[in-house]
Each structure stands twice: as C-alpha cells, then as structure tokens.
Symmetry: C2
Subunit: 320 residues, 2 copies
Amino acid sequence: MALPASITICEDGPREGFQFEGEGIATADKIRLIDALSLTGLKVIQVASFVHPKLVPGMADAEDVVNGIQLVPGVRYTGLWLNERGFLRAKDVGRLSLRGTLSFVASEPFCARNVKRTLAENFAEQRRIAEVYLENGIPLERASIQAAFGCNFQGQVETGAVVAIVDQIRDLVTELSLEMPIISLADTMAWATPLAIKRTIDAIKQKYPEQRLSLHLHDTRGMAIANAVAGMESGVDLFDASVGGLGGCPFAGHRGAAGNICTEDLVFLCEEMGVETGIDLDTLIESAKLAEDIVGRPLPGSVKSGGSLARFRQVRGEAK
Amino acid sequence: MALPASITICEDGPREGFQFEGEGIATADKIRLIDALSLTGLKVIQVASFVHPKLVPGMADAEDVVNGIQLVPGVRYTGLWLNERGFLRAKDVGRLSLRGTLSFVASEPFCARNVKRTLAENFAEQRRIAEVYLENGIPLERASIQAAFGCNFQGQVETGAVVAIVDQIRDLVTELSLEMPIISLADTMAWATPLAIKRTIDAIKQKYPEQRLSLHLHDTRGMAIANAVAGMESGVDLFDASVGGLGGCPFAGHRGAAGNICTEDLVFLCEEMGVETGIDLDTLIESAKLAEDIVGRPLPGSVKSGGSLARFRQVRGEAK
C-alpha cells in the first residue's frame, strides 16, 4: 500500500461537537476538553464557531471559550466563521491563529438550503471574503467544497462538477494574486465510498497534480475510516476529525447519528499502518472519554472502548 | 480500484448476536429475525450455535429455533459447533445445510484460553473432526484461522505463522484426500488494519495463488469496513457479517462493544462501489431495525440510521 509517511489531523470536535450539543454544555467543560486535547500532540484544534447565537445557541460563548483555554506552544487554535462579521469576531478575540477559509458547494439545492444563496451568489460572497482576508493581511489557507461526493437534495455529484469548482477557485486566486489554497473535499452528507474518493481525487490530480487536498469525512454511513484509507492511498495527508466522533445530530446515542470521522479511530488506523500523526493515542483516548462524560451519552468512536494495542504489545515487549 | 464483481455474505447475526445476548431473547424473536433475513436476498444464514447450554445459555433453544424457521428456497441455513457432539446435534435437527468447518488458531495463548488446548492438541482435534465429517459424508467447506492478525494474549501474529497454518491444513486435507477448504481469516480480537489484511493475504496468495479466502472481521476498533475494502482489493469475495452489528460484548449500547462487521454497512459499501451482493439493502435495513428492537438497545451499525441512498437518487430519477 502506498501511504503517506505522516498526516496532519485538524481536530474539529470542540467546534463540530458543541455546536450540535446545544446550550447544555458548560463553558468550563468546553475549555476542559480543549485543554486536554492540547496535550495529546494534536497540532491544529478548531475551538469555536463564530456564528450568530440565534442560529447556533451552543456557540454563544465562543469568546469565553477562546479566552479561557490554555494556549499550548506548537498547537494552532482556529475558529470557524461563515461571513465577514464572524471573521471579525474571531479576529477581535485575539488569541486564535487566523487563516483564511472559503466555502464552496458542489450542489445548487444544498447551497440554497444551507446558506440560502445560489451557487453564483455564493461564489461572489466567497470572493468578497477573500478580499476581506487580503485587506486584513490574513493568508488564504483552505477552500472547502461541500457535498463533493453527493447530496441528499441533488443526488449524485459528478467528479467533473468538482473539478470545475477547483477551476473556479484557481481563477479566483489568480485574479486576486493569492496562492492556491488547500482544497478540502467535504463529504457533507456521507455519500462517499473509497471508490468515489479515489475517483474524485484522481480527477483533480489529473488536471492539477500538485494540488494539496484535505478530506472532511462524515461518518453517517460508517464509511469514514475506509474513505480515509482511500484518501491516504491517493496522497491526502490532511484530515479533519472529531474526538470521540463528536458532532452530527444530537438526538440519539448511537453512531448512525455521528458526525465527522472519529479522531482516535483515525489515529489508531495510522499508528497501526506506520503513518505518523504526532499524536499520543492513549492520551487522546482519555480526551475522548472526557468528551463522552461531558456530553453525557455514548459517542460513536470505537477505539475509546476497544482500546489501543500498546498494552498488549508491551506485555510481550514487542515493537509494532 | 480492482474489486470483485460480486461477493457472498454469510450472515452470522442470529448466531453471533443471540449467543452473546444471553437468555433474554425469546425463541419466537430469534425465529422472527431469521425469517426476516431470509427475505433480504442473503444466501447463507448461520442460525444457531450447538454448544453446551451451560457455556452459552442463550443457545439452549438451538433446536427450537431451527425447527421454527421458515426455510426459504435458495437460502442455506447453517449452524456452528465446536466438537463432535455439537455437530451431531446439528445433524440430528435435520433442517440445516451441513458443511464441515475446522477451527485453527494462530496464537498458542489464545488457543489455551479459548478452547483449553495447546496448538498441537487443537490440530489433532481438528483432524478428528475432519474424520467425523468424512464418516458422515459431509463435505469440508471451511477452515478458519482465529487471531490471524494479532492476539491480546500473544501480541503481533506474524504472517509467516498464518501461512504455516495454511501449510498444515493443506497437509491434513492431502492426507485425508479432501478438497482444500476455503480459508477464513478471523480478526478475532480486532487487531487488523487494511495494511495487515493486504500483507497477510499477499503472503498466502504468493504461496497458494488459487486459495479461496474468506474474512471474519470484528469491528471492536472500527476498522472492519476499511478491512473489508482491503480484502476485496486483494480478491476476497466471501465475508462473514452480522446484521445491525449484532454480537460482541453485550454490556454496553455503544459500538466499542461491537462484534462482527455490520451486514448492512457492508452491503451499502458494495452497492455504492458496484460490487453485487444479491441483497436488497432497504429490506436488510428493516431486518437490522428489527434486530435492534429485539435486543432492546442500540446496535452499532451505521446505515440502519443513516439510510441507503436509493431514495435520494430516486427523487432525481438517477442511476447509480
């Protein structure tokens, strides 16, 4: 198997998870989880979402969370925003490592539903946000493509449509004299399988061999780990993930309701296949258990219950 | 991706699941689930375990279950046994499609723990059981290798050790003038990752290119679907699976306690990648929900909650 020597994991759990958990989570608990995650070896943690509290009540305390955490050297703390106002809130709080992100959508009906814009309107809005980053001296880091593998409101998304969005992004950054950002392919509604992951990445790489890609894999249908393997085999070395599998719909305690790929399951996969993550799995598992305690219901990740293999190898004094 | 055109799934849920659920499941409910599974397109269903009721109280009603189900033409109903006495019980009940199975172990300490035999004693016992099959005119179908990817009591299992067991099995069947059975590689304690799956299968195929293999993948660490993909890429077209993810340790409602790979998640994977299973996914999802109702707690599978993609494609009148 051709696998990258190492990958970087962007921990989205505090943002994805607490955003969905609503108002029931105390600010102190959010801080406690982020502080624990800071000691696992994770290098990027998305700690809060700067969206209107009316839309996401669970994130009304975003500033308090960011101000309350212990900043650990070597860890980048990031936030999420969906418009200029949110970006300026994230900027004002002052403790975050701000990099520019843009959000594109591969499906017209999902775009209409999710951000109430046509694809053309959304593109214009993203151009405007890119200009705001320019004005504020914030480097553009990432452009995500939502619903890149399929959409509940459109059906199949063709790889050609995804490549066309990459074309658009290249035109935009060329026009604004920016560096090409990382392209994050988001399986927003969990349509992807390994075959679709490879097909889409191959189509992009065929046109843009040097393009760095990232994957944001929702696990609603249990395919996320297999999709991550397919991504790594296609050269992807950057993944979003969510400790314990935090996120998704909060209505049920079973994993059908899960959100993003579970961080510790992804780290286990990598560790066992010799792909470096820089993360200490057993410490991360403790964070996953803490996340579970905080939300007060079983989270979907497996390895926090199954355990790492380190102790079984230690008994016999074995190397991996 | 090189994938098989079709795979066969052996549904182990009624046996694996109800074995672990203890005495709390009514015989009528077991029959109800098996009858539902019979209508999904599954071709092989393992319906009961013929072990001593003192060891597995949940299987004390094995004969009643077998006698109670509706035999659907085209479906093979099988059972599990661990010794001659169990085999003869399965034979006496008369309604099962009996084929011979042998069980080898790749780890000395696991063998001691699980069947209270040394590896040599277990090999002798399997030879004896093979002779019982011969005496009874039962064809030998499958030889499984437990702990083929690692063991909690031994640590790593080297691929060379697994190939050596295949050598032993070949010697045994040659001696007894039997056809070589399918070799089922069992990831009993969920140590495998896709890399280990490919490495082990490659080692066997290098020595025995024509050997048919099967995978029995426990999902304790969330790797089963990714491991199934690796298996299919290595040419495996036969998988055990468990509806809803039934099985494993019954002590908790979350998937860390899961047993075998979840059938409907595997069928979803295959359907979306163009690998035929002959199974109707939406009908199978109904069976998974029935299994969940019967055990009265959330089962670990994802697709029964996430749903198939058929309805989203139908809205748009799309082909896959």
